[in-house]
Amino acid sequence: MSVNSAKQRSTIQKDDWAMVTMPSGGLRVVELREGGVINLGKFGQFIVDNVFGYPYGQSFEILDDKKVAPVKSLGFGLDERGGASAATEGEDSNLESEHATPVPEMKSSANNQNLIDVGEKIQKITIEEIEQMKKEGMSNEAGKLIIEKMIQSHEAFDKKTVYSQEKYLTRKQRKFTRRFTMNYLSSSALLNYLYQEKEPQRVLDMSEETLGLMMSYANVMPGGNYLVMDEAGGLIVYAMLERMGGKGSITLVHENDQPNLSALRSCGYSEEELDKVVKTINLLQFFEPETERIDLFEYTPEELELLPYPKKQQYLRKQQKAQSVNETLKKVEEGNFDGLIYVSTLSPITCVPRMLSKVGGSRPIVIYSQFKEILVGLNHVLQKDKRVLIPNIYESRVTKFQTVPGKLHPMMTSRSGGGFISWGLRVFPMDNVIAVGRGLKKRRLNNEAEAASTAAAADNTEVSLQDSKPEDTVMEPEA
């Protein structure tokens, strides 16, 4: 079965959902239906069957008649310098079409001293002519011709530096090349797609690095049994399913009558398979299971046989639903979940403390918010509550670089935001702890506690949490 899983994620095959990256960097989520045609707008269209059997990650260029040929990568000049030679040195002739557009043999300049900005006049080819050429062919070959023509008609191309020429070429390639990459639809790919092509709010402004941090801090692993709120359209559940490989259980608590799990449409699981792992339950059912249990009138098998067919089917469906709801309610009542992952705009201050009793000992509590202030408020509440150890707020931000040796620098702009998480551990505080501290021999104990906590604060290495609590410390005027 693990062999099967490896195969499934490795090779492009029919009925998969996949992510298409276009030369512009644009993303599409596509379903690979046998015999279908995928239209990438100005980047052309292709027959789906032609990409079957290649590994995910393979790039293609579009030929005439909606056929495709594999190419090494979607990268152009700047991104993939040096890569080209390595690929062609191999035994394979499939990748002959490596150079989408070789830089034409033209003169270049050592610097831009003689380059004078005259605006669009420098380009002698007109928009109408380009449009005409675009109409004449939808293959990558046609795109190449346009770029070649544009370079030839550029009056000052030879006044540019080599680097600047390459940059120009890359820019044009991103626009006119008919190429694409077919990628496996990972949770990161889906997140990037929702963020970039839909809107950041769909994923509550969550970044890839924050999603990764949440999955690690929540200790998501195959076989775990997690309690989840997911207001990112099912993205969190998607990422968890991916990591768990279908082993374990996710109990999803949702605010509305029905959960929004639209992301799972493209997860590759059938509904039956999903039902086995993902149990959904609304907030009312979660907090008031005793009143939400479904008591269905029970027919005896004989009575059931006598029912007319449609009525019998209806009854069986109802029975199945009732069973599933009641099982989930029972699961929630038993509690002892392996962690809480809370991604919701519902105020965590009002909700998380009421969910804590359902989480097992030493299991992680991970709460996401795009606003740090909300988590600050929550952590004050959790610190007082004492059932969550070391609640702190974590922020992670990636800087991406233009990765060209000799031209290595951070990108000039990048997406901002990305959200924050609060991570703590569910613990069982002792009830009599404070009583001991405040009761008998109060003064001596308090003094010792204070000494311990000041000593700890001084060397900043050891602070026993309870000792540093305001409740346990003496508060009296100095001197």
Partner: protein, 338 residues
């Protein structure tokens, strides 16, 4: 995604051994417990009858921990000071492990795992093992269907890591004492390593990259991350990746911050004015105490209910402003159709 029908809840299996690949609820003899003594002081202890844990808050006998639930708080025999008994996870282990080398911290490791799509069943190459911090995250994430191939050229570190992995019941790893830069990655007891994830934390990753072609998957996209602190290392790494046919090369770095929730007193200017008037008046009347809106001269605890407070956040005194550069790339095997 791969789906398996079995829906086994591994949560409570008291007879099972502690392992980083699953949870258990109750502490038994020979289990590993992370004793939380303070924020910066988490101590791994192996539970043994008759032994005890010594802390500045007193002595905690192991016998008293057996039978307790993970997550329990226990009080020192002295009557004050507490510790918590925590279940080991890779993230807590990272905070408590004995350092033998610089380690990979959670903000970096979690991003690498997410971005390279390390999941249940992944086959991971890791070189070098170092202190074994990242190894635990990999092992946890790939589960029992995955396999971790870890390489360490320093023999004492290799031995130590091997003992630790066995002791922690990471049963999905093969660790090899090897200098991969010179001797490559092939191992005799596993002819098909078939890795789809590679993590190189080496002084000269560019020397190891050419050896990878024999051990990475030949039918699946392979992801790599090279972890180097210096920019000069990155340049050589990028050149080597390009020469060896890797694509989509991108260098990144992570900046992570930990924020603590704090309270800052709301000090209003009108109160300050009122206090000044009061001070002036008292100078004439020679009275000691008067209007004291901000608790001057008193020891005021943060959050004291006599005062008004802002809820604020603050980072610790020190920031990890640079760990390493993370250089990502992919290798897509060539498939000859027909």
């Amino acid at each position: 995604m791969n789906m398996k029908a079995n829906n086994n809840n591994i949560s409570d299996s008291t007879s099972n051994k502690m392992s980083f690949l699953k949870y258990k609820d109750t502490i038994e003899e020979n289990d590993l417990v992370l004793a939380f003594i303070g924020r910066e002081n988490i101590k791994p202890i192996k539970i043994k009858l008759g032994e005890s844990l010594n802390t500045r808050y007193g002595v905690f006998p192991h016998d008293s921990m057996i039978g307790l639930k993970y997550g329990s708080q226990i009080i020192s025999p002295k009557g004050y000071g507490f510790i918590y008994l925590l279940y080991p996870t890779p993230e807590l282990w990272t905070l408590s492990l004995p350092h033998r080398t610089q380690i990979v911290y959670t903000p970096d490791s979690s991003y690498i795992i997410q971005r390279l799509n390390v999941i249940n069943g992944s086959r991971v190459i890791e070189a070098g093992t170092g202190s074994g911090s990242f190894s635990h995250s990999f092992a946890r994430t790939i589960g029992e269907e995955g396999k971790l191939f870890s390489y360490e050229f320093h023999e004492p570190r290799f031995k130590q890591a091997k003992l630790e992995f066995e002791d922690h019941n990471l049963n999905n790893f093969i660790i090899t004492n090897r200098d991969v830069c010179n001797d490559g990655f092939e191992i005799s007891n596993e002819p098909n390593i078939n890795a789809d994830i590679v993590f190189l934390d080496l002084p000269a990753p560019w020397e190891a990259i050419p050896h990878l072609k024999n051990v990475i998957s030949n039918n699946k996209k392979v992801g790599i991350c090279c972890f180097s602190p210096c920019i000069e290392q990155v340049v050589k790494t990028v050149e080597s990746l390009q020469e060896n046919g890797w694509i989509e090369i991108e260098m990144t770095s992570i900046m992570a911050k930990k924020w603590e929730s704090r309270k800052e007193m709301v000090r209003k200017v009108d109160d300050a004015l009122e206090r000044l008037r009061d001070v002036m008046k008292r100078q004439k009347e020679e009275k000691d105490y008067g209007f004291n809106p901000f608790g001057k001269g008193r020891r005021v605890m943060e959050g004291d209910s006599e005062f008004e407070w802002f809820e604020v956040s603050k980072t610790g005194p020190e920031l990890k402003s640079h760990t390493s550069y993370l250089t990502f790339a992919y290798f897509v095997p060539t498939i000859n159709k027909e």
